[in-house]
């Protein structure tokens, strides 16, 4: 017999709970369920058990579809393009406090160097205590130059310095670190918009904590609305994260997650694998 709206609702309740338990934001779980309902309405399915299997299968596909980007960001293609044009690739990192932006920049620097690219860092976090010292230590270990200015300076001017430096010396990549900030803080978001205007980055990367719950959707949505993001990195996936934050970010922005952080060492960064995350998130 046909799957009716009421039958679907009952079966969906358990699966919805499973998604929530895997840290998918409430709104994202609702949207995914809605998509699955649309897919299945009117479809002919047998007994109740196979009904549940049909829903589970459709849910798996819906999650995989949401996590697989329509327009993927291929970092290495972009790098080659800019290199051929003799221009530095400019990447700006943003996100709320403590998600792992600075550490992710260090990891990406290491990754790019292994592939033969030259990198310069911009410490555009001119606010937080110890931010310059932290990134300087990474820069020393990685043997790259980091441009910074005294605490309290205009962060946009640091980005500007680094880009000029890269252009003058033919450096392939500029990675711009910004201070963590709550996306609800109007002044700090205005500051970020200014850095964005001055730096004109090729890529804006949102760095999100895989341990965040419902806030992941709020963060990603607002940073995307106010600044515009091109891609995301999900950090601390090694902290037994259930993976739901990936779905929340994908649904909130439609932008691809390109890397995941799986630890604190420079090598602890991997390409985002939609199938792996779907296996983890899907009930």
């Amino acid at each position: 017999k046909e799957i009716s709206e009421k039958n679907l609702d009952e079966a969906f309740s358990d699966l919805q709970m499973a998604l929530l338990a895997n840290d998918v934001a409430y709104e994202a779980a609702e949207r995914i369920n809605h998509r699955v309902k649309e897919t299945l309405e009117g479809v002919q399915i047998g007994r109740l058990q196979s009904k549940k299997d049909a829903i589970r299968e459709a849910l798996y596909d819906a999650i995989l579809d949401a996590l697989t980007p329509d327009s993927p960001v291929n970092l290495f293609e972009l790098l080659e393009q800019r290199k051929k044009a003799n221009e530095p690739l400019i990447i700006m990192f943003l996100g709320v406090n403590g998600t792992g932006k600075t550490t992710t920049i260090a990891k990406i620097t290491h990754m790019l160097q292994k592939r033969g690219y030259t990198v310069v860092l911009a410490c555009a976090d001119t606010f937080r205590a110890g931010s310059a010292e932290q990134i300087q230590i990474h820069a020393d270990r990685l043997k790259v130059r980091v441009l910074s200015r005294p605490y309290g300076s205009d962060p946009a001017s640091v980005a500007f310095d680094a880009i000029n430096h890269a252009r003058a010396r033919g450096v392939n990549v500029v990675l711009i670190d910004t201070a963590g900030r709550m996306q609800t803080d109007k002044n700090l978001m205005a500051e970020l918009q200014k850095i964005h205007r001055v730096a004109e980055p090729d890529l804006v990367v949102f760095v999100g904590d895989a341990l965040a719950g419902n806030d992941a959707i709020e963060q990603a949505k607002t940073f995307n609305e106010k600044i515009g993001i091109d891609a995301a990195v999900l950090t601390k996936v090694d902290a037994d994260a259930k993976g739901g934050a990936a779905l929340s970010i994908a649904i909130a922005t439609g932008k691809p997650i390109i890397f995941v952080g799986v630890g604190q060492k420079y090598s602890d960064i991997e390409s985002f694998n939609p199938e792996w995350f779907t296996e983890k998130i899907a009930p």
Partner: protein, 292 residues
């Protein structure tokens, strides 16, 4: 946030003409959604709302109070039974050096909130010292030192020290010899699956014998909150919780789950990046605001 959503759910119940089974079930559904969106642990939400529903429908209402007032009373009681009824102060014994070991997941806000706490306690008239025992994170000593300097609080540490246990012991010894009343020890971030780091945390606690271990919980923490808190508590008994970053859009439900999992009360909340942005957690005020 969580407050206004629960507030709306309760107000809806209070406005309904009759408080019957249907109205209570609707309240429970609204409560569930509000609590889940606030990151409260899924199982905890189900248990809590099941109890609220049972009590609201089955318990005899005391004379002189309406069934609807009774339902609000039940919600209030169930939430405060988790969060506690009164403000719980930091464990403090006058006339000696009180040692507080501060632990938590990477990036949760330990370093920043240690200085905030130091500043608050200094205002209350205590002598304070912070110890930089995070020997892993690049710039950890500089970060703590800069924050402490601004708050005019002494900071003990050595950016070249590689051994965190040694760093903790040396710092505590230093302040004990100065008869400092409050010693706050900063540690590196860690999570439950970093077994070596969890062991290190146990070794630090064994070495300095803290009077209280404070778990710093990120206000944005989702469903992992209870599992992580449980693991920390199993390794080193947690005495209290500080919930940070509640100035953003996060509602802190994860912290509620952490309290439920460890029995450790929330004593302070972080509401911003500046050193003044720390408040004492008041559970009844929190629940009272929740229920309007």
């Amino acid at each position: 946030k969580l407050g206004s959503a629960l507030h709306q759910a309760v107000q809806k119940l209070l406005r309904s003409a009759v408080v019957d089974e249907k109205a209570v079930k609707e309240l429970v559904k609204d409560l569930q959604r509000a609590l889940l969106q606030a990151d409260v642990n899924v199982h905890l939400v189900m248990d809590l709302t099941k109890r609220i529903e049972e009590r609201s429908l089955k318990e005899a209402v005391a004379p002189g109070i309406s069934r609807r007032e009774y339902v609000v009373k039940v919600v209030y009681e169930e939430l405060t039974s988790i969060l506690g009824q009164k403000v719980v102060p930091l464990k403090f014994t006058p006339g000696k050096s009180n040692i507080y070991l501060v632990v938590g997941i990477q990036g949760s806000g330990k370093t920043t909130n240690i200085v905030k706490l130091g500043r608050l306690l200094k205002k209350e008239g205590h002598s304070i010292g912070v110890v930089a025992a995070d020997t892993f994170r690049p710039g950890a000593y500089d970060q703590l030192k800069q924050l402490a300097d601004r708050a005019e609080i002494p900071c003990f540490g050595d950016s070249k020290e590689k051994d965190s246990i040694k760093a903790a012991k040396k710092g505590v010894k230093h302040y004990q010899s100065q008869k400092t009343e409050v010693i706050l020890v900063d540690t590196a971030g860690r999570h439950k699956d970093e077994k070596g780091l969890i062991r290190e945390m146990q070794q630090i606690a064994k070495a300095i014998k803290p009077d209280e271990i404070i778990l710093v919980v990120d206000g944005t923490l989702g469903q992992q909150a209870s599992t992580q808190a449980e693991a920390f508590n199993a390794a080193t008994p947690i005495g209290s919780i500080i919930v940070t970053k509640l100035d953003g859009s996060a509602r802190g439900g994860g912290a509620l789950s952490a309290v439920a999992a460890t029995g450790a009360p929330i004593k302070y909340i972080g509401t911003g990046e500046k050193t003044k942005d720390l408040e004492k957690f008041q559970p009844t005020k929190f629940v009272g605001q929740l229920l309007g």
